[in-house]
């Protein structure tokens, strides 16, 4: 089965291992992520201004292009998911907004065949696709290397789950989808209260020290709950949570680093992808020692 896929900028650069491990894992599950022929950046952040809808032009242009291919668009980066889905919600529930944006798309055509958007596309996160098209119970059949009860902290962050009313993927205070994935892979999903706490997001660009503190609180709690490793679907969460761990360690002698992976790397591991294809060398905190200790590499 083929699905229409929107990668977004970060998966083409820093997080190319997220894209590759997602594609390779989904191929094993019989689903081909087929990249849209033409797409642009979604804007990375959903604008919270009510009086200016111009920042929705980029996501809506992408949805208009997706609509020509079909009614489903799958994405993986939490930020792309948030922006595309919120813009989609906004125009589906406000025909005046949709009309204005369509006028703009008409005026500001980038491609000759750029067309109007009719609000027919359903934006899906890859996790939702796995849940709906494969099912977590069914996923177990494909597992070659069960995770041996490895204690994994699911980290949701913000963009994947908030606002619940618009994204509707999960309960924003008690999400389960990553927990369910970990358990299906034979791991042990660790419960800790900071799994939906923000990592500091784009504030990292300007005030990294403040972002560390946010990361420190999240990681410390996951550790205290017994986590050996953490997974996420967001390249910025991965970056922020990983980047400062050695600095944190210097300031807090009781802190032990927690390696972070994309959920697709853990999925690929359990599905039996060879180690080189898992690209486990992208973070400062190396996940390989923990995986070796658990007999998974």
């Amino acid at each position: 089965m083929k699905v229409n896929f929107y990668p977004g900028c970060t998966l083409k650069t820093k997080a190319s291992n997220l894209e590759r491990t997602a594609k390779a894992s989904m191929a094993i599950l019989g689903i081909e992520l087929e990249e849209m022929a033409e797409w642009t950046c979604c804007g990375a952040n959903f604008s919270l201004a009510n009086d200016n809808i111009m920042k929705m032009a980029a996501p809506i242009r992408n949805l208009a292009r997706a609509e020509k291919v079909g009614t489903e668009l799958v994405t993986i980066c939490s930020a792309c998911y948030n922006v595309l889905k919120r813009a989609n919600y906004a125009v589906k529930n406000d025909s005046e907004k949709l009309e204005k944006l369509n006028l703009f798309l008409e005026d500001g055509k980038i491609q000759d065949n750029d067309d109007q958007y009719h609000g027919k596309v359903n934006v899906l996160h890859l996790l939702e696709l796995i849940k709906e098209k494969i099912g977590f119970d069914n996923l177990k059949k494909y597992i070659k290397k069960p995770l041996n009860g490895l204690k994994v902290a699911p980290y949701y962050g913000c963009q994947l789950i908030r606002p619940q009313k618009e994204l509707e993927i999960e309960d924003q205070e008690a999400p389960e989808i990553l927990h369910n994935l970990i358990d299906a892979l034979g791991g042990d999903a660790v419960d800790y209260s900071m799994d939906t706490e923000c990592c500091g997001s784009y504030v990292e660009v300007n005030r990294p020290k403040e972002v560390w503190l946010a990361s420190y609180r999240i990681l410390r709690q996951a550790r205290a709950a017994g986590a050996k490793i953490m997974i996420t679907s967001c390249p910025l969460c991965l970056y922020n949570l990983d980047k400062h761990q050695f600095d944190i360690e210097k300031e807090h002698s009781d802190f032990k680093p927690v390696p972070i992976l994309y959920f697709t790397q853990l999925l690929g591991l359990a599905l039996g992808l060879p180690e080189e294809e898992l690209e486990l060398n992208g973070t400062k905190v190396d996940p390989r020692p923990v995986l070796k200790e658990s007999g998974l590499l």
């Binding site: 970060t10 619940q164 923000c198």
Partner: protein
């Protein structure tokens, strides 16, 4: 607060709340100052005044006082406050509105050229695009 955001604003104090309302769609007087937004805010530890105090300062018209603090620039737009407010106030939108009120006066909080080159190389694009959208006109 960087120097450049301290410059005089060309907005009359009585117009500020109207503008905030236009941009955010929120009425600051709905807030009854319970502090739940602040209790859940992941960045509050480093903010020099708390998220609920931003609303309080708007309610009493103390915009100049508000601008002395770093709070709006440390807000990560995580929507935790928004999702938990018992009065349905979308505080993340109010934070955005205050930022935009300044940015639309062509006052940049951060320019791309202020970001060290090594950071530009290392940061995921989504962080750079996001920061430019939040911090520059």
């Amino acid at each position: 607060m960087p120097e450049n955001t301290k410059k005089e604003l060309n907005i009359k104090p009585e117009e500020i709340l109207e503008i905030i309302k236009d941009i955010s769609g929120q009425d600051v007087y709905v807030c009854y100052q319970c502090g739940k937004c602040t209790a859940g805010c992941p960045m509050s530890e480093n903010m020099d005044i708390m998220p609920n105090q931003i609303i309080r300062l708007l309610q009493i018209g103390a915009f100049d006082e508000l601008l002395k603090h770093n709070t709006i620039w440390l807000c990560a737009s995580c929507l935790t406050c928004t999702s938990r407010c018992p009065k349905g106030v979308d505080l993340a939108r109010i934070m955005e509105a205050v930022r935009l009120l300044l940015l639309r006066q062509n006052v940049a909080y951060l320019n791309a050229s202020d970001i060290p080159e090594e950071d530009r190389e290392e940061l995921p694009i989504q962080a750079l695009v996001g920061a430019m959208r939040k911090y520059s006109p």
